[in-house]
């Protein structure tokens, strides 16, 4: 899923050496990676919404469920990138926080939909 960006990014500094290497990123690959994160998050929000609705979560429980699902997604994405985030993305925030609030609306929509269909039928 995650395509490795050009691995000339080096953040290693050995003592006594003060070379600052500009991390060079292949823009296409970076874009591709970011897109795949976005797609996985959207998909997971939708599925999570349907699950939350079927299980009958209401109120705060539902939102907590959403954030749990998002955290699990972040963790799995980080694991897929073998925890060396800088080889694939330009910052931690991409893999951890990006797209969480975008997915929230889809989650709420599908949560409401499933909840209504199942419980208030």
């Amino acid at each position: 899923m995650a395509v490795e960006g050009d691995p000339r990014a080096s953040a290693k500094k050995s003592p006594g050496d003060d070379v600052e290497d500009l991390p060079i990123f292949n823009a296409d690959n970076l874009q591709n990676n970011i897109k795949s994160i976005y797609y996985s998050r959207t998909f997971l929000s939708i599925i999570g919404g349907v699950i939350a609705g079927i299980w009958g979560f209401t109120g705060l429980t539902g939102f907590i469920f959403y954030f749990i699902v998002m955290a699990a997604a972040s963790f799995s994405l980080a694991a897929k990138a073998k925890f060396s985030v800088h080889a694939y993305f330009d910052s931690w925030s991409r893999i951890l926080l990006d797209g969480i609030f975008g997915g929230l609306m889809s989650f709420v929509l599908f949560w409401t939909f499933a909840y209504d269909i199942v419980h208030i039928f």
Binding site: Y39, T42, S45, G59, L60, M105, V108, L109, D116, I120
Partner: protein
């Protein structure tokens, strides 16, 4: 009051599901229509040239560490030279580019078409929802909201004792509007769904792009400090090898 209202099954069948299905279909339709209606404008040669010059200048700036100092300086002069440097835009010309962009009929038509294709289906669907589906409780949202949202969410329902969770179909329409964006980006590929704000930014960005970013690139190249990586490469290779052998 938190009593559970019993809602008719027919509401599910004939309101919620059709509304969602209609919105999805309208989104798909709009995507294909906008694809068909997209007029192919022949890119202006001057704009393309300027864009490529900017790319070259940017590459120079980013990769400055990989070429020796003398070649860097000669390239830098080529770009930033006051008389015939590529990035130096005389003042009069800078204003011109903007004005030309906005009076260009093609571009204006494109923007208008895109705006219309966004607005018209939304307006029509909203009017349809209001006409057919007003005056009854449509759905129950699974989380409680405060009383302030009552006016917004329960538009057709005139009882004030009904729980705020029971919403009318107008709010179901809005919920769909926002929530289906994610679905569209999944099934239509690549964000083609509701990025009208993004597109407007792109379109207006085109007008400013040539003049201002040329100046920005010129400043960027002027500022940069040339730091040749070659002398340090041997040390870096040595360190990397040492780490491998450890």
């Amino acid at each position: 009051m938190a009593e559970d209202l019993v809602l008719d099954t027919a509401i599910r069948d004939w309101v919620l599901v059709p509304l969602s299905v209609v919105m999805v279909l309208i989104g798909v339709l709009r995507y294909f229509v906008s694809k068909l209606m997209r007029s192919h404008q022949v890119p202006d040669l001057k704009v393309v040239k300027e864009g490529q010059v900017i790319l070259r200048a940017r590459n120079l700036r980013v990769a400055a560490g990989f070429i020796p100092a003398k070649s860097f300086r000669s390239r830098k002069t080529y770009f930033t030279n006051e008389e015939n440097g590529l990035l130096h835009v005389p003042k009069g010309q800078a204003q011109n580019a903007q004005a030309q962009m906005f009076s260009d009929p093609n571009l204006a038509m494109d923007m208008m078409k895109k705006n219309l294709s966004m607005i018209i289906p939304q307006t029509l669907t909203f009017a349809w929802v209001n006409f057919f589906f007003s005056g009854f409780v449509a759905a129950k949202i699974p989380f409680p909201l405060t009383q302030r949202f009552r006016g917004m969410l329960q538009n057709g329902i005139d009882l004030s004792t009904v729980d705020v969770s029971y919403v009318s179909s107008r709010s179901w329409y809005f919920l769909n509007l926002f929530g289906l964006r994610g679905l569209f980006s999944l099934i239509l590929g690549e964000e083609n769904a509701m990025d009208d704000t993004q597109r407007m930014m792109q379109m207006s960005g085109f007008g400013f792009d040539p003049s201002k970013s040329l100046g920005a690139e010129k400043d960027g190249i002027d500022i940069i400090q040339h730091d040749w990586a070659l002398p340090k490469l041997e040390k870096r290779a040595e360190d990397a090898l040492k780490k491998l052998l450890k």
